[in-house]
Every structure is written in structure tokens, then in C-alpha cells.
């Protein structure tokens, strides 16, 4: 089985400049279909990514453990450990955005994958340009990337909740802290929170969040927003069942309330 545990630096010229200058963006492909995995690897290498791939979830977890993966493409239907399990196991190890490549459009499958920790999904058959656009959208302005724009935008810290223990959004560090502890948000959760916080108190519609965070246009799946809001709440709310920081505005969208 192909085990891309050793990242292969691509020899291709970097056409899009999709790296941060120090390390190139590394994408992990977990896909058991040889044709898709190989062709995808070629396409992404040509798009300037460093690609590692795996046909089995167990092998992919080993790659994730290296801590060098920036983005993951995960097929759900695999022999052995399935994609959902992989996502749940990989999440504590990595906050890298995960895009699910699904052959199924069933509502339940996609929501389950998002609940497990995926950031976005594409359904087969997809156009590779679309997939690259998804990757770019999720990779853009990630907190670990020392992007100067991000640093400037988010230099301020914002107190989300002054009730003890204090919840603080530290734009400079790209982190959220409760008391002195880091709240472990994924890249996407962090960006969603930051989007809601600019400025706080303003109602954001699902499509506008979808556009801002996922770079999806009018036709994006709004459930992605809902699932991420749910995940964000479990991490920052005192009572995720009765949220008072990220509140739902019926029929309109979501609003961040400061305390």
C-alpha cells in the first residue's frame, strides 16, 4: 500500500504560490481508490502542494502524527477504519482543515462527517479546480500561517466573556483562551468565531458566513455553518445547550454577544 509517511517535496514550479514562504502547504489524501488517489496527487502537486497519500486510515493517522499536515482530503468509505473514525482520531492531533470527499450525498452522511470534525465536503465526481478552491479557502489566513494580513487584522484581543473564567479572543496569537488555558479550536472554528466578532453584536446570515469562511457562494450548503456553530459552542459556551455567546437569530443567522 502506498504510504506517504515521508512527505515528498514536489519538484514542480509553484504556479500559485500556495505556500507561506518557509514550508510548502502539505496536503494529506486519504482515499482507497487508486485512480482517484493517484490522479489527485498529480493534480495537487501540479497546483503547488506537497502531497502525501494513504489508502488506509491507519497509515494516514501515522502521517497526521508527524504534525506536518496542513490540509486533509478524506474519503468516507474505506476498507478497515472508515473516514468518520479517522476524522475523530485525527482531530485531537491536528487542527488542520479536513475536506471530506464523499461519494454519497445523503444528508445524514455529510452531517455525520461534519459533526466528526470535517470542515467542508465535496461530492464525487468533482472538478479538481473546485477542490483546489475549497483547499485555498480553508487554508487562507490560518492562524498558524504567519500571514502578515492576518496579523494586522487581528492584532487586538477581544474579551468575549468577562465572567470567570474570562474568555479571550487573541487575534495576534490566533488563539482563544479561557482563563489561562488555550481553547483548542480548529482553523475553521477560529475563523468562524473571528468572522462573528467583526464586529460583535452584528447578525451574520448563514450565506454571508459561508462566503466569508468557506468562500462558498450562494449555492453552498448552509448546514456546514450550522454544524460548525454547534462545534464552536461546545468549546466556548458555558452551556452549549443554552448558548449565550454565539446566539441564533431565528430566520436571520447568528450573532456574537459579548459578556
Amino acid at each position: 500500500m502506498t504510504n506517504g509517511a515521508v512527505p515528498v517535496a514536489t519538484s514542480q514550479a509553484d504556479p500559485g504560490g500556495w505556500h507561506d514562504g518557509r514550508t510548502m502547504t502539505q496536503v494529506l489524501i486519504l482515499e482507497d481508490d487508486d485512480g482517484i488517489r493517484t490522479s489527485l496527487r498529480m493534480a495537487l502537486e501540479d497546483a503547488g502542494y506537497v502531497v502525501s497519500d494513504a489508502a488506509r486510515a491507519e497509515d494516514a493517522l501515522a502521517v497526521v502524527a508527524d504534525g506536518t499536515v496542513d490540509l486533509m482530503l478524506v474519503d468516507l468509505m474505506l476498507g478497515g477504519m472508515d473516514g468518520y473514525t479517522f476524522i475523530r482520531r485525527a482531530r485531537p492531533e491536528s487542527d488542520a482543515p479536513i475536506i471530506v470527499i464523499s461519494a454519497r450525498e445523503d444528508t445524514a452522511d455529510i452531517v455525520a462527517a461534519l459533526e466528526a470534525g470535517a470542515d467542508d465536503y465535496v461530492t464525487k465526481p468533482f472538478v479538481v479546480q473546485e477542490l483546489v478552491a475549497r483547499l485555498r479557502a480553508l487554508r487562507r489566513r490560518g492562524p498558524r500561517v504567519g500571514d502578515s494580513d492576518v496579523a494586522r487584522d487581528d492584532a487586538d484581543t477581544l474579551v468575549l466573556d468577562s465572567r470567570e473564567p474570562e474568555l479571550v479572543l487573541d487575534g495576534g496569537a490566533g488563539q482563544v483562551r479561557r482563563g489561562g488555558d488555550d481553547v483548542l479550536l480548529t482553523v475553521t472554528e477560529y475563523r468562524l468565531l473571528r468572522e462573528l466578532a467583526s464586529p460583535p453584536g452584528r447578525v451574520r446570515s448563514r450565506p454571508s458566513l459561508l462566503e466569508a469562511v468557506w468562500d462558498r457562494g450562494f449555492f453552498g450548503d448552509e448546514r456546514i455553518v450550522d454544524v460548525h456553530i454547534r462545534r464552536l459552542r461546545t468549546k466556548i459556551e458555558h452551556d452549549p445547550g443554552g448558548p449565550d455567546i454565539v446566539v441564533t437569530v431565528r430566520g436571520l443567522g447568528y450573532r456574537l454577544d459579548l459578556w
Partner: protein, 466 residues
């Protein structure tokens, strides 16, 4: 038109009418037979009775005349004068060659030849005859003792009127019986056809797409068979449809992975097309074009499969159709000046699956662009609690007889095979709209020669806001 009239001329009676007419005819036949039988029996009985009475009367009167004549020296005319026949009777006596009558109403000319029995004959003769006053019975009684023959004519006009009255009564009875039979037939037909009406209603509902409809089971042994057959037929049809849909879904699903690999590989090749010789580039373009068609057809098939699983496959949210149409038209490069969409704030929201409705709208636009000379106009408006999208094209229109058919699968307009596209698009539009409880139809574009495709979806605001 001529076909219609020809058809109606040769059209047979309906089952209900047939049953009713059969009952009426049966009733009439029965009533007529009964009436005629009754009449004939009654008539014979009445006539016999009348003849007996007349004969008895004639005997009595004849005996009186004989006794009178036996008295020596008695004159016939005197004896006759003493006879007192009933009011409607007249008496004649022939003695030798002389005739004597009791009244002027009767003479020897009234005696028919067969009654001219001789005085010595032993038989009594009887005959019927017509008189100006109606029918009459004439009885001849030979009186050998006095060498004479006695004739008595009794008018039976009252028998005639009795029989006439009887005829009328029986005729009326026959008519009433037939009418009653017709009414009974109508009722029976209704009763017999009532279960068929139920079957027809159920069949219509099933044809309309409600495949879960079944007939209620019945205790009636005559109906149980048809109900059971009908239900199992619907089950079979349902099963068949489900299997077909499942097959299509499975096949399309199986194609997802190879198509993904194919598309990705071709994208890699396309990214390096500069490395390829010119001829390979040409071949690559062909592959790309057909792969694109393949991709679109598969997406339509997958979308159709999703529609066929029913509402459970729909991801409903409030969608502003004005915005959706604007986005779809923009992505399909439809010039914005052809768009007639209400300004922002107009209430054109529907509860719908955004992706599915988007595919439907895109399919309409694509249909116009690829098969009908381009989009001529796109209109979004609200009407009677519905949001209506109509797409006019610049093609040659759709003939009336094809306007329903275009929504069937793999139907293409124009000459067969002349146009690209598998013809799934419009059937996908129809399935999508149906799954959303809306309607879709094709008509003539106003003022033009093109076609107009209209989608109507129930407004999420409900009520009449048009």
C-alpha cells in the same frame, strides 16, 4: 375534429347505460308478456262467460216462445210481444219462411247463413257479429216442436269497453314496470359501478404519483378479487419503479469514482497541455468536451435519483428565487438585460432544496441555450401564493403535442440525434418541481415563435400575495 365525431358515432354504450337499458328492456318484455297473457286469458274468460249467458238467456226465451206457440192458435207476433228479453237483446223467430222480430233493430238480414239452422236440427248455433252499436252475440235455437227457429241477438258492447279498459290498464302497467325496471337498473348499475369508481379514483391518484394509495380491503367476495388484484398490481408497479430507480442510482453511483479519477487525470493533462504535441492536444480537447457532457449527464442522473427517493432527499431551506435565478443566470452567462426579476425586497422566497432548484433553473437556461437559439427572457414573479419562473427561448417553439412529452426522459426536440445532450435535463426539472409540490409546463412564448418554460413553486409566505 372529424376523428372525434367518428369516434362518438361508433362509441358503445357505457357499462352503466347498458345495465340500465337491459333492465328496462327486460322489464318491458316481462311486463308485455304478462300483460298480453293476462289480456288473452281475461278476454277468453269474459267471452265464454258472455256466450254462456247469452245462450242461457236464449234457451229461456226460446222455451218461452215454444211454450207460447204450442198453445194452439197463438200467433207468433203475440208470443214475441210477450217475450221480454233483456234491454240489450232482440229476438227473431222464423216459422216456415216467415220471420218475426221483437224489435225493429233486428231483421232476418242480420242472421248470417251459418246460423240458418233448420227447425229440425239438434244443434244450437252461436256467432259473433258487428252491429252499429258494437259487437253482439247471436244464438240460434231450433224449436222442432213448433217447427220454428229462435234467434236471439245480445249486444255485448259493454264487453268491448271492458276489454278496452283492460288493455289500457295493462299497457300502463307495462310502461310503469319498464320504467321501474329502468330505475332499478340505474340503481343496480350505480351499485355495481361504485367500487369501480373507487378503483378509478385510486388509479388516477396513483397515476398522479401517489404510489402509496391502496384500495381498502372488502368483505364482498365478488369485489375481493379485483381489490386484491388491483393492490398487488400497484405493489408490482411500485416495486418495479423502485427497482428501476435503485438500478439507476446504483449505476450512477458506481460511475462516480472512475469519473472522478478520469476528470482529475484529464485536468492534470490539461494543465500540461503545452508539453503535448498538437494532435494530442486536439484529442485532449475532445476528451474534455465529452467528459464534461458525461459529468453533466451523471449529475442529472444522480439528482434524479435523489428526487426519486422522495422528500427525504430534499434539503429544505428558505430560498429567494429572485436571487437564485440571478446567480444561475449569471453563472450561465445570460445577459442581465434579459432578466426581469423583482427588485430586492420582493417576496419571492420558497421553501426548497437550493441545489435542486438551482439545477432545475440551470437546466431550463441550458435547454434554451443549447437547443433553442438562446434565452430570450427570464421572468420571476409572484402569483396567487406561488413564485413563478418563466424562461422564454428564441427557438422554433415546441409543437403542442410534444409539450408534455418534453419532460419525459431522453426525449429530444428536433431531428433525432441532431442535438447534443442526453435529454435528462427537462425531466430533472419536472421531478424537482414535483418533489417541491410545484408545477412545470411548456407553452408558447408570447409574441414570439419560441417556447416558454414555466416553473411554479408554492411561496414560503403562503397566501395570495400576487
Amino acid at each position: 375534429m372529424s376523428d372525434d365525431s367518428a369516434e362518438s358515432r361508433t362509441r358503445r354504450l357505457g357499462l352503466g347505460a347498458t345495465i340500465m337499458v337491459s333492465f328496462a328492456l327486460g322489464g318491458l318484455l316481462l311486463a308485455a308478456t304478462m300483460a298480453v297473457g293476462t289480456y288473452l286469458t281475461a278476454r277468453r274468460y269474459l267471452i265464454e262467460q258472455r256466450e254462456r249467458t247469452a245462450t242461457r238467456q236464449a234457451f229461456a226465451d226460446a222455451a218461452y216462445v215454444r211454450d207460447g206457440l204450442l198453445t194452439s192458435g197463438a200467433k207468433v207476433s203475440d208470443v214475441l210481444g210477450a217475450v221480454s228479453p233483456p234491454a240489450d237483446a232482440a229476438v227473431l223467430v222464423r216459422r216456415g219462411n216467415r220471420w218475426f222480430a221483437s224489435s225493429l233493430q233486428v231483421s232476418e238480414k242480420d242472421v248470417p247463413a251459418q246460423l240458418l239452422v233448420g227447425p229440425t236440427d239438434r244443434t244450437v248455433a252461436l256467432t259473433w257479429q258487428r252491429t252499429p252499436d258494437g259487437p253482439a252475440v247471436m244464438v240460434a235455437v231450433p224449436l222442432p216442436a213448433v217447427n220454428a227457429t229462435f234467434f236471439e241477438r245480445t249486444s255485448v258492447a259493454e264487453l268491448d269497453s271492458t276489454l278496452t279498459a283492460l288493455r289500457i290498464v295493462l299497457a300502463v302497467f307495462a310502461v310503469i314496470t319498464s320504467a321501474a325496471a329502468a330505475v332499478l337498473g340505474r340503481w343496480a348499475a350505480r351499485r355495481v359501478l361504485a367500487p369501480l369508481d373507487e378503483v378509478a379514483a385510486a388509479a388516477a391518484q396513483i397515476a398522479g404519483g401517489s404510489l402509496e394509495i391502496r384500495l381498502d380491503s372488502t368483505e364482498d367476495p365478488d369485489l375481493a378479487t379485483i381489490v386484491a388484484s388491483f393492490n398487488s398490481m400497484v405493489d408490482a408497479v411500485n416495486d418495479r419503479i423502485r427497482r428501476d430507480a435503485q438500478f439507476a442510482a446504483d449505476v450512477s453511483h458506481e460511475l462516480r469514482s472512475p469519473l472522478t479519477a478520469l476528470m482529475t487525470s484529464v485536468a492534470v493533462m490539461d494543465g500540461r497541455r503545452a508539453d503535448l504535441p498538437q494532435r494530442s492536444q486536439q484529442a485532449l480537447d475532445l476528451v474534455k468536451r465529452d467528459l464534461d457532457r458525461f459529468h453533466r449527464a451523471l449529475q442529472d442522473l444522480l439528482e434524479l435519483g435523489r428526487m426519486e427517493t422522495g422528500a427525504s432527499g430534499l434539503l429544505l431551506s428558505t430560498v429567494d428565487l429572485s436571487e437564485l435565478v440571478r446567480h444561475a443566470a449569471d453563472s450561465m452567462n445570460v445577459p442581465p438585460e434579459l432578466l426581469h426579476v423583482p427588485p430586492d425586497g420582493a417576496r419571492t422566497s420558497v421553501l426548497a432544496d437550493k441545489t435542486a432548484v438551482n439545477s432545475a433553473v440551470r437546466n431550463l437556461l441550458e435547454n434554451a441555450q443549447r437547443h433553442a437559439g438562446g434565452v430570450a427572457s427570464v421572468v420571476v414573479r409572484t402569483e396567487h401564493g406561488h413564485v413563478v419562473i418563466s424562461v422564454d427561448d428564441a427557438g422554433s417553439g415546441v409543437p403542442k403535442e410534444d409539450r408534455r412529452r418534453v419532460f419525459e426522459r431522453f426525449v429530444r426536440g428536433g431531428s433525432r440525434g441532431a442535438l447534443p445532450g442526453a435529454g435528462l435535463g427537462l425531466s430533472l426539472v419536472a421531478e424537482t418541481v414535483r418533489a417541491h409540490g410545484g408545477a412545470v409546463w411548456c407553452s408558447e412564448a408570447p409574441g414570439g415563435r419560441g417556447a416558454r418554460f414555466t416553473i411554479e413553486l408554492p411561496s414560503s409566505l403562503g397566501g395570495d400575495d400576487g
